[in-house]
């Protein structure tokens, strides 16, 4: 994830309120802790 998508994701997460802290920084696909690309699954 590049810096631009990171920033957009952060703003989106913040606007939703009460978003868990982790998701604010890791909005991507996660399975069993693995940080994956969409095409991985």
């Amino acid at each position: 994830m590049n810096r631009r998508t990171f920033s957009i994701a952060s703003l989106l997460a913040l606007s939703l309120g009460h978003v868990p802290l982790f998701r604010r920084y890791f909005p991507q696909r996660i399975k069993s802790g693995w940080l994956l690309r969409d095409e991985d699954v």
Binding site: M1, N2, R3, F6, P20, L21, F22, R24, Y25, F26, I30, K31, S32, G33, W34, L35, L36, R37, E39, D40, V41
Partner: protein
């Protein structure tokens, strides 16, 4: 000269230029530099030349808040202090550590990085490392850089400097001398009172006094002086003990990474990226793991993402992929509520209340780790180097585990340096606000903690304080 108070009464007659309380990295560095400059120094150590239970138990205390180490094992109380067991990791503050105004007034130092930089080369020489730090920008867009650590042998300050101190005409080392009180009036300290383990007392007169008793006891003893003497020696209502900091250390995950030559290295974000993200400093150590870990991770990845799992398995068959462990060590925000306080439940053998350490990690501390990890992960994914698996507690947002590394045994803040007595205890010259001749040395001075190990900077700050004292005493 060496005087051991355990061997009988001592009656020093002379007036010293400087009395230093505590003979660890800060106290010894200070004594050596002052002695070489011709100043008469009394260096007072609560312990002896070797570990003794009688001395070590003075460090007992309670912790309240997040899981932390027992205070009587988190440091050593004899000649050389905690350099008798430090690991030797050396990296000093960075310019950005003094430029964190974007995070608020609590982060503002009264000095700049340029004030300690002139002492880096000499500090490196003392801990026997090169001062040629070579960081490398890995990716500008993601703000990722590889940072250079140096490793001291590690130098045991007591062993290294004992002979010079014993033979010095200017330095008198007093062993088994436990600080109990100050005398004086009108904001000026006249003498320090010390006691041995047979309850015999000793008084040393000095033009200036330096507390160099460590990142917890500097606070404890200053709080005790405030309780005994109110505002006799320094301003009332200073935030003594407050803004105490550690470096959280946790294993955050493991990764499968292909054909990488970056193993066992240390990474951090650039100053620009830290500011853009509104976070502090965080280092990520990447350590190569064995074949069994690689097999376990591939098996796991095959279950959750068969395509990329098969890719990893294929590379593993060609010995082109390895497993790595990711360990993060990061900066903790200065938080007024994290503090050393005087216990109302227990006192040490000299009647001084034990330490009560209140310590919790805040949301911004966790954000610093998460944001830094994400930038690092973004690099791995963009370059298709592999995949990172975070520990459960990280991605599930759970509490920090209590069976991990926890912290670095780095005690910082408590008597921090500040531009204002509202936010700190000492000024830019390490002098306690309102005092005429009372100073502090050691990592309790740190206004912010950075993310690097504190010892090298302790030496830099001690050298700088010595230069100041040479001018004023």
């Amino acid at each position: 000269m060496l005087f051991d108070f355990a061997k009988g009464p001592l009656t020093p007659e002379q007036q010293y230029d400087v009395c230093i309380l505590g003979a660890g990295a800060a106290g010894i560095t200070l004594a050596i530099r002052l002695g070489r400059a011709g100043k008469r120094v009394a260096l007072c150590e609560g312990g002896g030349l070797d570990y003794e239970d009688d001395s070590q138990e003075i460090y007992a205390g309670q912790t309240i808040g997040d899981p932390y180490f027992d205070l009587d094992i988190a440091r050593l109380r004899y000649f050389g202090g905690s350099t008798n067991h430090w690991g030797g990791y050396c990296r000093s503050f960075e310019p950005t550590d003094f430029n964190r105004g974007y995070l608020g007034d609590d982060f503002r130092w009264p000095i700049s990085h340029d004030d300690i930089l002139p002492y880096l080369a000499e500090a490196c020489e003392i801990v026997e490392i090169s001062s040629d730090y070579r960081d490398r920008l890995v990716d500008e867009e993601l703000g990722l850089r590889q940072v250079d650590f140096k490793y001291s042998p590690p130098v045991r300050f007591g062993e290294k400097f004992q002979a010079e101190i014993e033979s010095s005409k200017n330095i008198d080392l007093f062993l088994n001398c436990n600080f109990t009180d100050l005398t004086g009036a009108d904001r000026r300290v006249r003498s320090v009172k010390l006691r041995n383990y047979a309850d015999q007392d000793l008084e040393i007169r000095a033009n200036s006094v330096v507390f160099a008793m460590g990142g917890i006891d500097n606070s404890r003893q200053l709080l005790w002086m405030e309780r005994l003497h109110g505002g006799s020696f320094f301003d009332r209502d200073l935030p003594i003990g407050r803004y105490w900091m550690e470096h959280p250390h946790f294993i955050i995950g493991e990764a499968l990474i292909k054909s990488w030559d970056q193993a066992n290295l240390y990474f951090a974000l650039t100053e620009k990226m830290q500011k853009a993200l509104g976070i502090m400093g965080c280092g990520v150590v990447v350590e190569e793991q064995g074949d069994s870990t690689t097999k376990r991770l591939i098996k796991d990845l095959l279950c959750v993402a068969p395509g990329v799992g098969a890719w990893a398995a294929d590379l593993a068959g060609k010995k082109l992929i390895c497993s790595y462990r990711f360990q993060a060590a990061w900066e903790q925000a200065p938080n007024r509520e994290n503090r050393v306080a005087l216990s109302d439940r227990a006192v040490d053998r000299f009647g001084v209340p034990q330490s009560e350490l209140h310590w919790r990690k805040a949301s911004i501390d966790r954000e610093t780790m998460l944001a830094s990890t994400q930038q690092f992960n973004a690099f791995i994914l963009r370059e298709n180097l592999g995949r990172l698996q975070l520990r459960d507690w990280v991605y599930q947002g759970d509490e920090y585990p209590d069976d991990d590394i926890l912290a670095g045994y780095h005690h910082m803040g408590g008597t921090r340096m500040s531009y204002s007595p509202r936010y700190g205890v000492v000024d830019g010259n390490c002098k306690v606000f309102g005092a005429e001749n009372l100073y502090v040395a050691g990592s309790s001075l740190y206004t912010t903690a950075g993310y690097n190990n504190p010892t090298l900077a302790i030496v830099q700050f001690a050298l700088r304080l010595a230069d100041h004292l040479v001018k004023v005493v």
